[in-house]
C-alpha cells in the first residue's frame, strides 16, 4: 500500500517539465462571483510562461454534495470533472478546499483509478508555484498591511500554510501581519454556514475580531469561500467595513 501525505503518494510533488500544458480548474463560485481571481490566476501562470488551458466543459468538483452526505449525487459531478480534466498532467486551482476535495476525497466517492488519478493531479495555486515550480517571488508590489487566513481544508488535508506566507513575504512593500489563532476555523464550512448559522456566524465573528487585532487592512487567503464569509461579517460592521478581503492571487498580481 502506498502511503499518502497531502493527498499525494509519499507526499512527493511531481516534476513540471517546461512547456507542459496546465489546465485551470476554476471552482464554480469563483467563475460566477469572483472572476477577477481566476483572471489573476491565469495572469500569474501566463507571466511565468506556462501554457494554460481552460477546459470549458468544467463545472464543479462535487464538494457541496459530498460534504452534505449526498455521495451518489456528488459522484456524477466528480465523474464529469474527471472526464473534462483527464487529458491534463497538471491541473491548477485557486482554492485549497476544492483541491482537497479532488486530491483527498475523490477516492471516497469512487475508488476507480481513472477517477483517483485525475484528482491527484490537482494542485492549489500557491503549492503549484512554491512546491512544484519552486517560485516564491512573483515580482508583485502591494504597499499594504496584509494578514493571511489559512483555510482548514487546505492546511490540514494538504499542508498549505508556508507556501502563501512565503509568497506574501516576497511581495514588495507588503507588511505581513500575523493573524492571532491562525489555526482556528473561520466557521464557513460550506453548507454548515447556512445549516448552523448561529455557530457559523459566532465563529466568523471571532475570526473577524482576530483580523482586526492583526492590524491588517487586507485579509487574504488561498480560499475565497472562507473570505466570502469572514468578509461578509467584516462588511456588516461599519467599524470593520474598510478591511478588504482579497484572494492571494489578486494580491500577487499587484504591481
Amino acid at each position: 500500500m502506498i502511503t499518502l501525505k497531502n493527498g499525494l503518494p509519499g507526499g512527493v510533488y511531481p516534476t513540471y517539465e517546461r512547456g507542459e500544458k496546465v489546465a485551470l480548474f476554476i471552482p464554480c463560485y469563483i467563475d460566477q462571483f469572483f472572476p477577477q481571481i481566476a483572471e489573476a490566476t491565469a495572469g500569474i501562470l501566463k507571466d511565468l510562461g506556462i501554457p494554460i488551458v481552460f477546459p470549458e466543459g468544467q463545472t464543479c468538483c462535487g464538494q457541496p454534495a459530498f460534504n452534505s452526505g449526498y455521495w451518489d449525487e456528488a459522484a456524477r459531478v466528480v465523474r464529469h470533472f474527471c472526464d473534462v480534466f483527464r487529458p491534463f498532467p497538471f491541473i491548477v486551482c485557486p482554492s485549497g478546499s476544492c483541491t482537497a476535495m479532488c486530491r483527498v476525497f475523490f477516492e471516497q466517492v469512487d475508488p476507480d483509478d481513472r477517477i483517483v488519478s485525475v484528482g491527484r493531479r490537482v494542485f492549489e495555486l500557491s503549492e503549484f508555484l512554491v512546491n512544484i515550480l519552486g517560485i516564491t517571488d512573483l515580482g508583485a508590489r502591494f504597499p499594504h498591511k496584509v494578514t493571511l487566513h489559512s483555510g482548514c481544508h487546505g492546511r490540514r488535508e494538504l499542508g498549505i500554510l508556508d507556501q502563501p506566507i512565503a509568497l506574501l513575504q516576497n511581495v514588495k512593500e507588503l507588511v505581513y501581519c500575523e493573524l492571532p489563532n491562525i489555526e482556528e476555523c473561520c466557521g464557513f464550512g460550506g453548507t454548515f454556514s447556512v445549516k448552523m448559522p448561529g455557530t457559523s456566524i459566532a465563529m466568523g465573528e471571532t475570526k473577524a475580531a482576530n483580523v482586526v487585532r492583526s492590524g491588517a487592512e487586507v485579509v487574504t487567503s488561498v480560499d475565497i469561500s472562507c473570505l466570502m464569509h469572514v468578509g461578509g461579517i467584516l462588511k456588516r460592521n461599519p467599524q470593520t467595513r474598510h478591511i478588504r478581503a482579497m484572494h492571494i492571487a489578486e494580491v500577487l498580481v499587484q504591481r
Partner: protein
C-alpha cells in the same frame, strides 16, 4: 430505544445550538476554558519530540486490540477471574444495570460512592439506583457539582467546565447551606469536607475503567483528586464498569497510553494518581462489568471502527470550535464534541442521532489533536452519507431531490451556466427583498452577500483568455522565473 433516546429527542442539535448561543455567559465561560486547555495541552504534547511516534504506536496497539477484541476480552476475563474478580458481561445498558442491582441486593447496599465514569452515564445508573432507594454520590469534584446542580456533564473530562467559581459558590450556598465564597481553595475545602465522610459510610464504590490489561487481568484507573482511590478502596464492594473497547493487550503498553492520555486530557505529564487494581484482597468483593451497548455496531462499520480507539481524553472537544460555542448539552447524549458526533449515531442509532455528524464545519482540528489518531473529520463525512441514506432526522426526500437536480445541472456545462445565471440573478436581487427565506436568510443573518460581477470567468476567457493561452510568453516584458529556475 430505552432511556437513552429520551435526551436526544429532547435535545436535537439544531435547536439546542441557538439556545446555547443565547446564553453568552454560560457558553463563553465554557468556550474560553476549553480554548485555554486546548492551547495549553497542545503545547505540552508538541513539546514531546516523539509525540507523532507515540500517536502512531498507540494507534497501532489500539488497532490490534479492536481487531482482536474477542480474544483479548476473554483473556482479560480469565486473568481477572484468576485474581479473584467476578466478571459480568452486558449486551446493553439495561443488562448492565441489572447486574449492578443484583450486586446491590446481594451485599445489601444502601449508599454508593462513585468515581467519574462516562459509561455509567450511558447506563443512567444513578437514576436506576435511586429507583431502588440507593443513594449514589458522585465524588469527582466536577461530577459532584453537576450532580448537586441537577445537571448533566458538559464535558467528558471536565464535567463542570461551564461553571465559574461564582456559580459553584452559589451552588454550595444553596444546596449545602455554606456561606458564599468564590475562592477556589475554600470551595475545594467545602467539597472535601462534605465528601470525606461519605467514603467511610458507603457500602459500595463504583468506578469506570481507563484501561483493562488483558495479560495481567488488571484494570487501570487514573485521576487527580484522590476520590477514585477512596471510592474503590474504602467501601467493601467495588464495581468497575467498562466499555468493551477499553482492553489493551498488555501492561507493557500502559505507559504509552498514560503518557498520551494525561497530556492530551489535562496537559499533565502524568495524572496525580494512577491506580492499578490487580484482583481483590480477602473479605472484599470486586466486580467488573464489560458493556457492549452499541459498540458492536461501530465494530461492524469498517469506516467507523477506529472511533473505538478513543481513550476519552477530551482533546477533540477542547479543540472543536463548534463545541466551544455550543457546549456539551447541545449534543443531546453522554458524549459531546467531535467524538460524540461520530460514536453517538452508532451507540444510540441514526434515528435519534443522525443530526450529530452535521454539527461540524469539518475543520479537522479534532483529528489533529487526537492522541490515537482517529480520523474524526473523515468519519463525520462518512456518517453524513450514512445519515442521509438511512432512517434519520436528516433524511429528506426534498433535499435529495434538490441535490439530484444540482447534480444533473452540474454534470453539463450548458445546464451549469443556466443554473448559475439563476443563482446570480437571485443573489443580485436579494438585497431588494425585505425578507430572506430559508438558507438565504441564514446567510444574511450575520453576513453580507457578495457583489455579483457583470461577467463570469468563462465569458471572459472566451473573449480574452483563448488568445491569452495562444500568445507566446513575452520574455522582454517581464522576468520569466520558470525559464531560469525550473529548466535548470
Amino acid at each position: 430505544m430505552t432511556s437513552q433516546g429520551l435526551h436526544l429527542s429532547g435535545a436535537p442539535f439544531l435547536r439546542q445550538e441557538n439556545k446555547g448561543l443565547a446564553e453568552p455567559h454560560g457558553s463563553r465561560a465554557l468556550g474560553e476554558s476549553a480554548e485555554r486547555s486546548s492551547k495549553h495541552n497542545r503545547q505540552v504534547t508538541l513539546s514531546v519530540p516523539y509525540w507523532e511516534q507515540w500517536r502512531e504506536e498507540a494507534h497501532a496497539v489500539k488497532r490490534f486490540a479492536i481487531h482482536h477484541l474477542d480474544q483479548l476480552l476473554v483473556e482479560f476475563e480469565r486473568n481477572a477471574v484468576g485474581r479473584g474478580a467476578t466478571v459480568l458481561w452486558a449486551k446493553d445498558a439495561e443488562e448492565a444495570n441489572r447486574h449492578v442491582l443484583d450486586i446491590v441486593q446481594k451485599h445489601q447496599v444502601k449508599t454508593v460512592v462513585k468515581s467519574k465514569s462516562m459509561v455509567t452515564e450511558e447506563m443512567e445508573l444513578n437514576h436506576v439506583l435511586a429507583s431502588v432507594g440507593v443513594r449514589a454520590l458522585e465524588t469527582d469534584l466536577g461530577e459532584y457539582l453537576v450532580q448537586l446542580a441537577g445537571q448533566r456533564p458538559v464535558h467528558i473530562v471536565t464535567p463542570a467546565l461551564h461553571l465559574s467559581a461564582e456559580d459553584v459558590g452559589r451552588l454550595f450556598a444553596e444546596k449545602l447551606n455554606e456561606p458564599f465564597t468564590s475562592e477556589h481553595e475554600k470551595l475545594t475545602d467545602i467539597a472535601r469536607r462534605h465528601l470525606r465522610e461519605e467514603y467511610l459510610r458507603a457500602d459500595m464504590g463504583i468506578s469506570g475503567v481507563n484501561f483493562a490489561l488483558a495479560d495481567t487481568g488488571s484494570i487501570c484507573i487514573i485521576e487527580n483528586e484522590g476520590n477514585a482511590g477512596l471510592s474503590i478502596s474504602a467501601p467493601p464492594v467495588h464495581v468497575a464498569v467498562m466499555g468493551m473497547e477499553k482492553v489493551i493487550p498488555s501492561i507493557r503498553y500502559l505507559p504509552l497510553f498514560l503518557n498520551l492520555l494525561a497530556r492530551s486530557g489535562t496537559g499533565q505529564k502524568l495524572t496525580t494518581y494512577t491506580h492499578l487494581v490487580h484482583g481483590v484482597t480477602p473479605g472484599r468483593h470486586f466486580y467488573i462489568i464489560i458493556l457492549d451497548n452499541g459498540r458492536s455496531n461501530v465494530l461492524r462499520d469498517p469506516a467507523s471502527r477506529s472511533s473505538l480507539f478513543c481513550i476519552r481524553c477530551g482533546a477533540c472537544l477542547n479543540a472543536c470550535p463548534v463545541y466551544r460555542r455550543t457546549g456539551g448539552w447541545a449534543y443531546g447524549w453522554v458524549y459531546p464534541g467531535p467524538i460524540g458526533a461520530i460514536i453517538t449515531p452508532h451507540l444510540v442509532g441514526m434515528e435519534d442521532a443522525g443530526k450529530l455528524p452535521f454539527a461540524s464545519s469539518l475543520c479537522g482540528a479534532c483529528g489533529e489533536v487526537c492522541p490515537v489518531k482517529i480520523d474524526i473529520p473523515h468519519q463525520l463525512v462518512h456518517l453524513r452519507y450514512r445519515a442521509v441514506n438511512s432512517p434519520s432526522p436528516v433524511r429528506s426526500p426534498l433535499e435529495r431531490l434538490v441535490w439530484k437536480a444540482w447534480s444533473w445541472a452540474m454534470a453539463s456545462p450548458l445546464r451549469y451556466r443556466l443554473a448559475m445565471s439563476v443563482v446570480r440573478w437571485g443573489v443580485r436581487f436579494a438585497k431588494y427583498l425585505p425578507w430572506h427565506p430559508a438558507q438565504l436568510g441564514a446567510w444574511t443573518r450575520g453576513r453580507e452577500l457578495p457583489e455579483v460581477p457583470g461577467y463570469t470567468f468563462r465569458s471572459w476567457w472566451r473573449h480574452r483568455g483563448a488568445e491569452l493561452s495562444r500568445e507566446p510568453a513575452t520574455p522582454g516584458k517581464k522576468s520569466n522565473p520558470v525559464t531560469q529556475e525550473v529548466s535548470a
